[in-house]
């Protein structure tokens, strides 16, 4: 069943996708961070450019760092960003 989640993009991931946030309906089968990246990559050239090097993409689910195999079950807010550079 399709389920709406909020997706946020930061830094150059935001610049390449062309948006800071959006609400999407997750199709059946898009059940992990890795699958979501694959699904987003297929959307258009901007997303494909943002996720061209998946090894430098970091993700968070509901504001906690997660890895690619993390489940999207129960997720409300998913974020994609480059490795952090604060301090």
């Amino acid at each position: 069943m399709a389920r709406a989640v909020k997706i946020l993009y930061f830094a150059w991931v935001r610049e390449k996708t062309g948006r800071a946030e959006e609400v999407v309906e997750l199709p059946a089968g898009v059940d992990t961070v890795r699958r979501l990246i694959e699904w987003l990559t297929a959307r258009d050239a901007g997303y494909a450019a943002a996720f061209a090097k998946p090894e430098v993409i970091r993700a968070a689910i509901d504001r906690r760092h997660v890895t690619a195999d993390a489940s999207l079950t129960g997720a409300r807010e998913i974020a994609f960003f480059p490795p952090v550079t604060g301090g």
Binding site: R58, H65, P83, G86, G87
Partner: protein
């Protein structure tokens, strides 16, 4: 014990005074101020923009502080991290630790900086004569976090290999 993310400049000495007031048994206060440099990797930098993930940043800083309090007997601690646009020389981050003895205060201050650099969702974009560029995460920062037995990054890559 406090963390703050703010656009405004901070005054380190008044922050220290406020943090320590009314807290007993403080024999050592360590203050670290991170300042924007005018060069990076040999290139001139004239301005920098720092963005963050509101909400997650505060959660991450609270977790960093919680970890420090588990490891050292701190009497007080403070993390202030600024966001916005900066010029070389601007103070960007402030870490203050107060303890009965200096060892805990020194170690905890280093820990707080090492850990926040790899965990808190901030991103820097520099600009200079050659244009704009996003700052890349440094392997030395990951190594600094690793020496505390912490994940150097978020512990894994979202996209996988």
């Amino acid at each position: 014990m406090a963390i703050r993310v703010q656009r405004e400049a901070f005054d380190a000495s008044s922050e220290v005074k406020q943090l320590a007031s009314g807290v007993g048994d403080i024999g050592a206060i360590v203050t670290f101020t991170g300042v924007m440099r005018d060069t990076n990797a040999g290139a001139a930098v004239t301005a920098m923009t720092l963005e963050h993930y509101p909400g997650m940043t505060e959660d991450a800083l609270l977790e960093v502080e919680r970890q420090a309090l588990q490891r050292w007997p701190l009497r007080a601690s403070l993390i202030v991290h600024r966001v916005g646009t900066f010029r070389p020389g601007d103070a960007i981050v402030l870490v203050v630790t107060a303890a009965a003895h200096r060892q805990a205060a020194f170690a905890a201050a280093e820990f707080l900086m090492d850990y926040l650099k790899t965990q808190a969702p901030f991103w820097k974009k520099e600009s200079g004569p050659r244009g704009e560029r996003w700052v890349e995460a440094r392997a030395t920062d990951a190594a600094a976090a690793a020496r505390w037995g912490l994940p150097g990054d978020d512990g894994g890559k979202a996209g996988g290999e």
